[in-house]
Amino acid sequence: MQPINKRIIALVDCNSFYVSCERLFRPDLAKRPVVVLSNNDGCIISRSTEAKQVGIKMGEPYFKAKPLIDKYKVAVFSSNYELYGDLSRRVMKILKNFSSDIEFYSIDEAFLDLTHITMKNVEDYISNIRKTILQWTGIPVSIGAANTKTLAKVANHIAKKKKMGIEEFISKDQDYIDQELKEFPVAEVWGIGRQLSAFFHNNHFHNTYQLKNADNYWVRKNSSVVVLKTIHELQGICCFPLNYTPTVRKNCCVSRSFGTSITDMYDLQEALVNHCITAAERIRSEGLIAKTIYVFIKTSRFKKNYLSRVEKIDIPMPTNNTLELVHLAVKALENIYRKGHYYSKAGVLLSGLQPKAHYANNLFSDLNHNLDHLMNIIDQTNNKFGRGSITLAAARHNNQFKLRRQHSSKIDTSFIQRAPVVKAG
């Protein structure tokens, strides 16, 4: 019997999340291989089980996977973050009904504290969570429950292979858990990763059970405190508590490779202005302002005369205002641009981010009041009528840098104008 004060932590993870979202309104794709591409249709970022089975690799460039995609008639989608974002919000909202102690770990993963559930009811409880999410949103999830986050991750991996989609270590005895750990690869342990697992492999740790029983002093001497904590977590001692407040990010980078390289400064400028608009929108939505802006342009690393140039500008009055940021980015570009090169990538990095509320008003802040108001109106309008409804003239020089989204489902379940269409039967 485990001590009563042990926590019960569940990890809820949406299965092939982006693919599951695309399948919601496409029952014809339920059993077909499906993949979703990254921004600008670059790489494979989500695969259905069927797509994994025909040998399509995670992160593989689209053009490289194309022969397999054609051969197995794999359905291809450009990423549609409006749809994924809305379905993620729905899943997280449902989870809140099951526990108020919740850490939103990523767009498709959350940790729940279920310590309030009686131990013997955990299996029914997580099974009910799974059923509810599937019925209400159509998104299949896997749930693993254990005494620590690290073990919950292990349980989740096992749950993924089960038809029921759930696994719990709460009501199980230590022998059962150890048996599972013996079959669990070290590289799959949360926070270990490829490099560390190679290190452990060289030191004869071949499975997670061996890692769990590693000598504390040896680990401390040869590795890090984080690994030591991970090992404690494998032993059922909670070292990583749930993190309820999302960490405030320090940077916001928006960059993109060009489909075909460009030489003209005004073409570069247009791309950078668009990135600047996106970055400014993003930090505004998080209530942040930037202290520094970096602008960078690059030619292809794989071609002759590789050129990579960066300009850093410290902003005298930290801001999230599109007009000011664009103005600085354009100035920066003029400084770093060199004629006669074939540029393949350009980007903007906003740095030294801090909550706007923390920034003391200064003598000149009144001047910015009207600009803030303008930004609010632009954001509201773009939220209502779609991104880019209001933008800067400089962002539309010839418009060739719009995101490539050739295979987008174009559905947005949070926007009536993009509502899914269904035939009257």
């Binding site: 209400w136 379940t413 269904v422």
Partner: protein, 125 residues
Amino acid sequence: MKIPLVIQKVSAGFPSPATDYVQEEIDLNSELIKNAPATFVIRVQGNSMNDHKIANGDLLVVDRSLGLSNDCIAIVNFNNELVVKNIIKKSNHFYIKHADEYIPITEHSDINVWGIVTYIIHATH
């Protein structure tokens, strides 16, 4: 921004008796959407459901958390395609009507219920 339905000007004389009844503005979301994370808005294409007061271009409020009931309208997966259908209950079984034929919804049939239509939003102007 929410604007209250009743706004009273400050004036001399009798206060309006209506001030005691100040309410929030009408909120169609809370009226039409009972279970937000399970509710989707879907646009209809085609006129095959005109007999059920559903026209081409109408918006349907669809709740995925509800169960079937007799004579309900549902979004169903029929032949690997989502369609709007009327569902009838006869002697404890549910059927969809398809081309003058009643097809039972069973665990073994290929017909899955996607969600139940709770409201039809039809523009008349």
